[in-house]
């Protein structure tokens, strides 16, 4: 693995760390397996790319991408909370609808922004090579997100959301409006995923309607690898675990890509990925196994 490939993996891991944080919110905090993310990631990329191409400044474009993806989350939450559709199915419905919507947003399947300004443009040319600037700046973005999310989940509002996910009946008995917290949590989760999409488009120069394939797997991998490495009840550590999990996941893929020596072929990549996630899932169980 070369230095550029290594830092490229770190960079992509930091972009997808926002997916990890989003999936942590839906899957771990709210106990809501949300497949909307497979559609909201390309939605975020599409909105950001189209707006940047239309001349909107990168930051407002990125914020708009988060709002759009958050709205996608609200649709899923509405289908589930208001119309009682099973959460998994509700999110699948939104996800497939988003495929068409993303094509509408972009007007075509692929929008290139290779030479357009991005949120990272101001940081290029400050003495560091581009391939180091990107992960460095992204790390700052991710750190800010982790601090804000930690504060949010420690607030009264966030504690109520955690109670909603942990035990909805108990939460309702305490006077918590659980439905409202599901709306808010799923919207926030997808907004974070949309941010990842917007950053992906800006760091790689294009938005593609197929970019969402397997986003939920990547997010779960980040959450689970993080939990395996940093088993902690503290929210801050759990969130940092998601970030580390996301970066390690990308480094693992990078290793799989460069693993021609052990006889792996290009077509074995998905298998290698599945094995990695499965191992991360099994390890904690094996540790517990002795006691159970």
């Amino acid at each position: 693995m070369s230095e550029i490939a290594f830092w490229g993996a770190v960079e992509l891991g930091l972009v997808y760390a926002f997916v990890g944080l989003g999936v942590y919110l839906s899957f771990r905090i709210l106990d809501f397996p949300d497949l909307t993310v497979d559609g909201s990631l390309p939605l975020g990329a599409a909105v950001a790319a189209v707006l940047i191409l239309a001349g909107v400044a990168p930051w407002p474009a990125t914020l708009a991408a988060m709002v759009a993806a958050g709205c996608a989350g609200l649709v899923t939450a509405t289908l589930n909370v208001k119309f009682k559709i099973l959460h998994l199915l509700a999110s699948i419905l939104t996800m497939i609808a988003l495929f068409s919507i993303n094509l509408r947003v972009m007007g075509r399947p692929n929008v290139a922004i290779i030479n357009e300004p991005t949120v990272l443009t101001p940081f290029y040319g400050l003495g560091l090579s581009d391939y180091l600037v990107r992960p460095a700046v992204l790390l700052v973005f991710v750190a800010i997100a982790v601090v804000l999310l930690t504060a949010f989940l420690g607030s009264n509002f966030g504690l109520a959301m955690r109670a909603t996910g942990a035990n909805a009946r108990m939460a309702r008995a305490q006077g918590i409006r659980t439905q409202f917290h599901i709306y808010a949590g799923i919207a926030l989760s997808n907004a974070l995923v949309g941010l990842a999409g917007a950053l992906f488009a800006q760091t790689n120069g294009f938005a593609d309607v197929t970019a969402g394939v397997g986003t939920i797997v990547v997010g779960l991998a980040a959450v689970i690898v993080g939990e395996t490495l940093l088993p902690s009840r503290r929210i801050a550590l759990a969130l940092i675990g998601c970030v580390i999990g996301s970066v390690l996941y990308r480094i693992a893929i990078q290793l799989a890509l460069s693993a021609d020596v052990i006889g792996l072929k290009a077509s074995d990549l998905n298998l290698a990925t599945a094995v990695l996630v499965a191992v991360a899932l099994i390890l904690p169980r094996l540790r517990k196994g002795g006691r159970a």
Partner: protein
Amino acid sequence: MRKLLLALAAASAIASPALAADTVTVAVTAIVEHPALDACRDGVKDALAEAGYKDGENLTFVYESAQGNPATAAQIARQFIGEAPDVIVPISTPSAQAVVAGTRDIPVVFTAVTDPVGAKLISNTEKPGGNVTGLSDFSPLDDHLALIREISPDAKTIGIVYNSGEANSVALLEGMRSRVEAAGLELVESVATKSAEVQGATRALVGKADVIYIPTDNTIVSALEAAVKVAEENDIPLYAGDTDSVPRGALAAVGFNYHDIGVQTGQIVARVLKGEKPGDIAVKVAAGTNLIVNPGAAERMGVEIPQAVIDRANTVVK
């Protein structure tokens, strides 16, 4: 954690292979593996061998597939850029964008990209400038339409099955639409976004279209047999945009096969390896006018291929 990361970084620094001076490295990446794109990759290799660069002797040929995932394509692009090969050959639009966005130094020769200007890979086909050139696989649509009208002269509506999620296919659809309308005919479109939907999408054209045209669309071509079955059951002639689809059951096609596209790409790669600047090499549309017909398929679809067409064909499928 920090230690692990540092160790990985250190290990990677040591593991990077030093390139010997007398061998060249060509790194090829495709968004997904399927017969046409694989044939394209093999064509690149064959053309390089022809030009004197033999894999394992004086050529290191590296290949990675992104397995359909643009994020993986981005990662493969970074890996290749880090390894600094002599030329990077990205096959398909997202793979090419990921590579072009990542490097301004390493020569890039893209291929199987339908609309390289629209994809922002280059701004000018005559003199692309910078480190990028390549080959567009935009189909010879005029030839396709002419062939359809020659074999099915009574057809008034042309049905087209494509994946609205593929940039290439949408460009081809628009190109076909303007040509069909200019000829005073009507175009009916039907969309399949995954291979499982191809049969249903083709069926939706029954009763609406006099003939069916399948463009060079990764999704539809990968499930071509499903479309062929519908065409045979309903006596609708089915034409393809690529010659590889004809032995698989399409009635006829005129154009290139993807091995040819790979060969033409490989020839450009060889020019770059011999010292030409990519930015000075004009981006061309792949050439090729092979005519291939399948009389058996025609019979099953209730049509007869005129003798003149069969006589002119480069290949007649038995």
